[in-house]
């Protein structure tokens, strides 16, 4: 048994996560002594923790560019480009999540310090998920990511629909982790180890007890478990109700953070542990991607409630990232596909948080005011808000000059490269393009409603929300117009084998 020595634990490499998790625990204690009226202090302290973790991440990225990937905590975690880039996305979405919630919670009278500490715990769970190199860490990170989200979606708990949202999310989450654990059990039986790098040897015939058939069935069950978390089609039924019932800042953070965390696990498990059986899971993921894109976009057309529409749109966007995952099974396309998927998650995070920020601005205190009709005439009463919303809708559709367009272009470029020898990926790419065209219909309906209908579109943009809106709008525009630096970073986001 290789006893890990002190430097193989190397805490320095995983400093961002340690800072965030430690700060979350500390903040839980500090929050006890903050009086209910001044809970926004907890929020700003949480932002401080995120900034500290971000700075540590910056140093770690510089160190990574010099010395390459390194494994931390024995061989349980690995700190590579993929992990660092995604940790940046998680920190950004957590920061914007706090800004969204800062004014929303007091207005709806559900302001409690625990909101911010739970948000920090979820983010640390996601960061650990990005650097997991062992199936145990993947499972525990998934739980550390999901438990706070169950509580957060039930945060407005005397209100019934928030409790129901939390209940449905909880039951489906527990059901999914049941599948995930059984999948890991069979993979462990087939491969003799839960280390991702160990599993890949067993599938090729090495390892203590090679049993590839069992490992493949285990892999299928893991796909089901992670499919629930990412809300891919056959496992997406919970998404609309939960997204509508949960408080809007939680929905915004959940649609971005939990999804990116799920994809981090999906990419890491399937590209590191199961490359040898690429053709089996490649076909399955391609089919799931096609179904997800079709259903997500088609059903979204008939939605009048903007929160439900954004829920179905988040399902559809999961489909686009799944296309990149399916394309990533070809070794020569893998670097491009992985960086395309990761970049897409960044653009989707920024755009979706911006769109939800505007929904929060429009949402009245009793939760109404989020229908499409409520956007009527917004251009006249709040021109800046209208421009920002139009930019977000363009980005979600994938029309230039928005970040979404670059993201989709990058993903489809990878898919086209992968489909040179594989007709299935080709059809999936075509479906992807067609569904993006369909999505234009329900996305552009809102700018039309804002500019060409008259109405008294009223919205109250409080300070913190304004900052979040400005940041997301600027980021969506910048990522669309000058994506080069970010693309460069995404290209370095490569997966490496741990240990």
């Amino acid at each position: 048994m290789n006893l890990p020595t002190l430097e193989s634990i190397n805490l320095a490499a995983s400093l961002p996560v340690l800072i965030l998790a430690g700060w979350a625990c500390l903040l839980t204690a500090i929050d006890l002594f903050i009086s209910p009226e001044r809970k926004h202090w907890t929020a700003w302290l949480a932002v401080l923790g995120l900034l500290a973790s971000g700075v540590a991440l910056g140093f770690e990225a510089v160190a990574y560019s010099q010395r390459g990937a390194v494994s931390a905590f024995g061989d349980m975690a690995v700190v590579d480009g993929f992990a660092l880039f995604l940790q940046g996305v998680f920190l950004l979405s957590a920061f914007l999540g706090i800004l969204l919630a800062l004014n929303y919670l007091p207005r709806h009278n559900i302001e409690r310090g625990e909101y911010y500490t739970l948000l920090l715990f979820t983010t640390s769970g996601m960061m650990l998920m990005a650097m997991a190199a062992d199936l145990i860490v993947v499972f525990l990170a998934l739980e550390l990511l999901s438990l706070p989200l169950y509580v957060l979606s039930g945060f407005a708990h005397p209100r019934l629909d928030s409790e129901e949202a939390a209940m449905k999310y909880f039951l489906l989450g527990a059901f999914a982790s049941g599948f995930l654990v059984y999948g890991i059990a069979l993979t462990y039986g087939g491969a003799g180890t839960t280390l991702l790098s160990g599993v890949v040897e067993a599938l090729v015939g090495g390892g203590p007890a090679p049993n590839p058939v069992l490992a493949i069935v285990g892999m299928g069950l893991i796909l089901v478990g992670l499919g629930f978390k990412v809300a891919a089609v056959p496992f997406h039924m919970w998404t609309p109700d939960v997204y509508q019932g949960a408080p809007t800042p939680v929905t915004a953070f959940m649609s971005v953070g939990a999804k990116a965390g799920g994809f981090a696990a999906l990419l890491r498990v399937f590209l590191i542990a199961f490359p040898a059986t690429g053709d089996t899971w490649g076909v399955v993921i391609a089919i799931i991607a096609a179904l997800t894109m079709i259903l997500g976009n088609v059903v979204a057309i008939s939605q009048s409630n903007v929160k439900r529409m954004l829920a179905y749109s988040s399902i559809a966007h999961a489909g686009y990232v799944l296309v990149a995952v399916a394309a990533a099974r070809y070794p020569e396309v893998e670097p491009l596909a992985v960086s395309a998927a990761v970049f897409y998650l960044l653009t989707y995070a920024v755009t979706n948080l911006g769109a939800f920020a505007i929904v929060i601005a429009l949402e009245r205190d009793d939760g109404t005011g989020v229908e499409v009709e409520d956007f009527a005439g917004l251009a006249k009463t709040r021109p800046w808000l209208a421009i920002a919303m139009t930019l977000f809708m363009l980005s979600l559709t994938g029309i230039p000059p928005s970040a979404g367009m670059v993201g989709k272009f990058f993903v489809f470029q990878a898919a086209v490269q992968a489909s040179v020898g594989d007709p299935l990926i080709l059809t999936v790419t075509i479906i992807g393009v067609l569904t993006s065209v369909i999505s234009a219909f329900y996305y552009l309906r809102i700018p039309v409603m804002m500019y060409f209908r008259d109405g008294e579109g009223q919205a109250n943009v409080q300070p913190a929300l304004g900052v979040a809106l400005a940041l997301t709008a600027l980021a969506t525009f910048l990522l669309g117009v000058v994506p080069a630096p970010f693309l460069q970073m995404a290209r370095h986001a490569l997966l490496t084998l741990a240990g």
Partner: protein
Amino acid sequence: MPGVILFAILALVAILSAIGMLTSTNAVHAALFLVINLACIAVFFLGLSAPFLAMVQVTVYAGAIMVLFLFVIMLLGAERVPLSSRLRWQAPLAIALVLALLAVTLLVAFSPQVQGNLVNPRPVPPEAQGFGSPQAVGETLFARYLLPFQMVGLLLLVAMIGVVVLTKDERKPTGHISENAQASDRAA
């Protein structure tokens, strides 16, 4: 040969108690069936030389978790449970799905490749005598699995925060509390 007989009896009891939990109309009976199932699995753990896990299964799973289930069933008085499923087409589809899942796993378990290279448990070699004992589990846990161990600490803290947030209601009572919450508070 006594091993296979003991295995067969326990497996039968486990499966019957699982089916019993599935079909019982009274939530308390379902919980007690699950406790029987947990006990059978604890004995399996003993047989598979995992004594420490058997004790943990009995104390933590059967002891703490099932007690909590019974506690909630008693608290909510929700023991009269309708058996009929909600939508007519839901039940057959669910059963079909489950049978497909079962068929796949059994097909795989009986398939020659899996049977072939599944290592059957050899008698425990002398040097691994302490296999499954608390020392062995402790040594592995605190040498190789440090990161998961710390994550469990965070998970328990989150669970504690979650419980307090969901049950203690410390906000200033304003018009926003829906009337049925107040009604239930008065009734509780």
